[in-house]
Point group: C2
Chain length 430, copies 2
């Protein structure tokens, strides 16, 4: 993380008081500006969506490469041409990759639901018939993963993140010992919210570790597979292949989507897994659907064209959002470096910057920001049940607002950090 490690700097009470007073003045002025800005969710900006406006029109005839009329029923596995475009990025062979409906969140939800209602390959009983089931939740993590667990009464066991992914010593110990544990949530590349890229060793250990539950699954949410911010795209090891090589071929559920590639609300979700898992998956979806929206899939094929077209399109996204990430970094550096009040990530991809403030200050900073008209993701959202026990992490989502708005919002946020932080340091001294 950038900035200074969050430890109290060697300031006198007088110096701290002066800083606090200046922060109070700045905050009063800030409130006076009557801002109304939103940094809550990782949404693409209208300009990013404009990049894909060609999707809106698709010329007839809408037929697939094999001549199928894509307007009609059928084609449960999704358009092969589209699966081919995403096969490399998601590291799933085309024949094991399904293209589905509007988002990968739906597919992750459905995987949890289907596993409750029918026995997974390798499993002994339905999850609904277990007295209790649990998931490992690397923290900080993605609130919507936790939301699925919460809805279905799945116990969430936090695991600390490291620079190379979840702390594998902890993961291995828990997974080996506790048969309640049926899965782990992972965002392996440019992780939400900390931007971590899982190391090859992490992937290898996840694939190979013994698990007490015979139907343990890695929910591999590769949401930012192609969402690079630099010219050196991060690569992660191939989980599906690694699982197969380790003798655990059915361990991985791979998810991806076009949601932050084309239109966030009208994209295509992908599910990839072993042949046995795909068969199990289809045994549910064949009862649920007579096929996904294949015209929308064709739109994506015609628009993206191939894997190179996908990469080029993502470079255009990066050109729009990189300046926003740079602005956040620059303003936080200017305002908070050396204060001992904050550190933050500088991710090479993905959608978020993670801000760390002194313990016990995150909720107060978010509340102050709200007073100043800046909407932030609730403090704690990075943890199961919205409970960050250290109360120190804030997720910043800089993509949606215009650059000038991002700058104004981060400037305001820094003021709130200075105010809450100096008050906390003073209180700690007294």
């Amino acid at each position: 993380m950038k900035g200074t490690p969050v430890t109290a700097p060697a300031l006198t009470i007088q110096e701290l008081t002066a800083q606090r007073d200046r922060a109070r003045e700045d905050f009063a002025a800030l409130v006076g500006r009557g801002l109304k800005l939103d940094l809550t969710r990782g949404k693409p900006s209208p300009r990013q969506l404009d990049l894909a406006n060609e999707l809106l029109d698709v010329r007839a005839p809408v037929v697939s490469a094999d001549g199928t009329d894509l307007r009609n029923y059928g084609g449960l596995n999704g358009l092969a041409e589209l699966r081919a475009i995403f096969s490399q990025a998601l590291q799933v062979p085309v024949e094991q990759l399904l293209a589905a409906g509007n988002s990968s969140l739906e597919l992750m939800h459905d995987a949890v639901v289907f596993a409750q209602l029918s026995v997974l390959p390798g499993g002994e009983r339905r999850w609904a018939d277990e007295p209790e089931i649990a998931f490992l939740c690397p923290v900080p993590g993605y609130d919507r993963h936790f939301g699925i667990c919460e809805r279905y009464g799945i116990t969430m066991i936090p695991v600390p993140m490291t620079e190379t992914g979840p702390d594998m010593d902890v993961v291995e110990r828990l997974a080996a010992d506790d048969a309640r544990i049926k899965g782990i949530w992972c965002v392996p590349k440019y992780s939400n919210p900390d931007g971590t890229v899982y190391s090859a060793e992490t992937v290898r250990r996840l694939a190979a570790m013994p698990t007490a539950a015979p139907d343990f699954r890695i929910f591999w949410d590769n949401a930012y597979a192609v969402h690079h911010l630099t010219d050196k795209p991060a690569e992660i090891a191939d989980l599906l292949a690694s699982c197969a090589q380790s003798g655990n071929p059915d361990r991985a559920f791979v998810f991806g989507s076009t949601s932050k590639i084309t239109f966030a609300g009208s994209g295509v979700g992908f599910f990839g897994a072993s042949a046995a898992n795909v068969k199990w998956w289809l045994s549910h979806t064949v009862k649920r659907s007579i096929g996904p929206d294949k015209i929308n899939q064709l739109r994506h094929v015609r628009f993206l064209k191939d894997a190179d077209g996908l990469r080029e399109h993502m470079r255009q996204h990066a050109a729009l959002i990189r300046p926003k990430f740079d602005a956040v970094d620059k303003i936080l550096s200017t305002e908070l470096s050396g204060t001992g009040l904050a550190s933050w990530t500088s991710p090479a991809g993905g959608y978020f910057i993670l801000l760390r403030v002194p313990a016990g200050c995150a909720a107060a900073v978010v509340a102050k920001a709200k007073e100043a008209g800046i909407a932030l993701t609730p403090a704690g959202a990075t943890h199961p049940h919205g409970d960050d026990p250290q109360d120190q992490l804030i997720r910043i989502a800089p993509t949606f607002p215009e650059l000038a708005e991002v700058e104004a919002a981060i400037d305001a946020l820094a003021t709130c950090v200075r105010l809450v932080g100096t008050e906390k340091l003073l209180a700690d001294r007294q």
Copy 2:
């Protein structure tokens, strides 16, 4: 049903033998023609799909009436403008009607799944925690309804259909006595496959009847709400209102879709219910999705415009498919009237004609048709587990093939009925 009631006609053995021999000759000639025709599924024809080709293009900006950018995340309930167009046809107030993804089958599946995993309004426990649950299945019925029950181990209890809907004496008795029974599948208008329109009295009794299960649900698959074949559209009573009036406001789940209105594979599904049910539904879907494909919903709004536009569009469908239904009726009348070998429905809407052959003959007719190159829905598909105990019903789906193909296929089918039927009658005499 048209034709002659299926009873052995008063023919001599000699007369019957002559008929059988002629049928054998005709069948041999038929096989010689090498036909390859498909009457299996209720799919719109390419010409019907052409009616909606304007959907393929949608002009930017894609914004809703309230100014929302429909390309981005959000809007879980679906586009209000679209829900308004379908509110009247589906008999659900706009605020209780949700517009979702690609099909109503998905929504029916998900309703069964959600009810297994969380307690329904009025319920005492999750269906997954019951030792056994059961659904009433009016027969003949829709195989995909039965498929959902089969996938989740739900016991299916057949109930005979009458001219006015399911036999309500049977339904009332079973629902009142058997707490395992959690629901009933209904296609209330132009029922699949028998074309029945539920009477007002049937609707009233369904809404008002006592049920042993406190969380009993009517799965009201109003798939053919606007799919009329005549100039006198059938009307059904308002189930949702009737349930509320009877003190059972949460009993109805209403489903509908545009699948056989615009593009079968790229439509919009609808879910309508009481406020309590909608809240329960959203408690699942809010964890599952960040909103349906709102651009596709906007395409539908711009294309259909309003309820009148919907009605006019459906008149164009009727103009394309009515001649096919007429052709089936004409050929069956010419070939089979007075033979005692068949009777059939003459529906005023929907997608199917139901052919009844002598008991024990349906599977053999379908097999013979296959020999002659005519694909038919498997005999028995109209019953749970594909088991028609009388083996006498065949579902004919005439919409997809071109008119000339429908004629050739029905002509061939009639030959198969004559062959199998006369052989059966002769065997019965011996």
